[in-house]
């Protein structure tokens, strides 16, 4: 199992450009999340999905859109990138139920480092 994978690993954009970050998981998890991580601010939830075809806003959704057309994929889009969106983006997934005391365990991808100039 590859777990959670993210594409690309690094990207540099100019202000106003658009891009899509791809997250894929092969664990058949129901829940998927997109977070951004900035220095001194921990992880902040951008959008999440509780199942195929569903999405919902998190703490900091402005400037981002998401889609979950297939259960295993969760896409994060930036329509018009801004320097404030320079960050490390993490995708995570979580099963509906967990066993063995691992309740609420989220499995994270390795992150995408995005710089917007």
């Amino acid at each position: 199992n590859a777990g959670v994978t993210q594409t690309p690993k690094f990207r540099v954009l100019k202000t106003g450009q658009s891009m899509t970050l791809l997250c894929a998981q092969d664990m058949n998890h129901e829940y998927m999340y997109w977070y951004r991580q900035d220095p001194g601010m921990g992880l902040r939830l951008i959008h999440y999905s509780v199942g195929e075809g569903t999405t919902a806003k998190g703490e900091v959704p402005d400037g981002y859109n998401v889609s979950r057309l297939k259960k295993q994929n969760f896409l994060l889009g930036l329509e018009s990138a801004a320097p404030s969106q320079t960050s490390v983006y993490f995708c995570a997934s979580r099963p509906l139920q967990a066993r063995g005391g691992r309740a609420h365990e989220q499995f994270f991808g390795p992150g995408t480092r995005l710089t917007v100039l």
Partner: protein
């Protein structure tokens, strides 16, 4: 808006020392998780606590959940360089929820 505050923000200690990091909220947690994150990687779950007063041990790590479920601590005994990393707490504030709030993190460096 629920907020999680972690302290200290940074901690640099010598190998063999003990340390405690804290996670506090003004709201009652439904559940709380502790993660460790190493440079260039995503966070990895260490433990979940759900019951007030609960104590869990993971080798040299001891996790405690406050009786009122508003705070938690992580104690490391005889720290090793391999414990170096960013420690994050995360919580949910209502049962059956699937949204998580993360704390700002404690960056630990253990010197050999």
């Amino acid at each position: 808006t629920q907020l999680l505050e972690q302290s200290p923000q940074f901690l640099s200690i010598q190998e063999g020392e003990n340390l405690t990091v804290y996670c506090n909220s003004s709201s009652v947690f439904s559940s709380l998780q502790w993660y460790r994150q190493e440079p260039g990687e995503g966070p990895v779950l260490l433990v979940t606590v759900v019951t007030g007063g609960e104590v869990k041990k993971l080798k040299r790590l001891t996790f405690q959940f406050g009786d009122a479920r508003k705070d938690s601590s992580l104690h490391i005994t005889a720290a090793q360089p391999g414990d170096t990393g960013l420690y994050l707490c995360a919580g949910t504030f209502s049962r059956g929820t699937y949204k998580y709030i993360f704390g700002t993190g404690t960056r630990l460096k253990v010197l050999a």
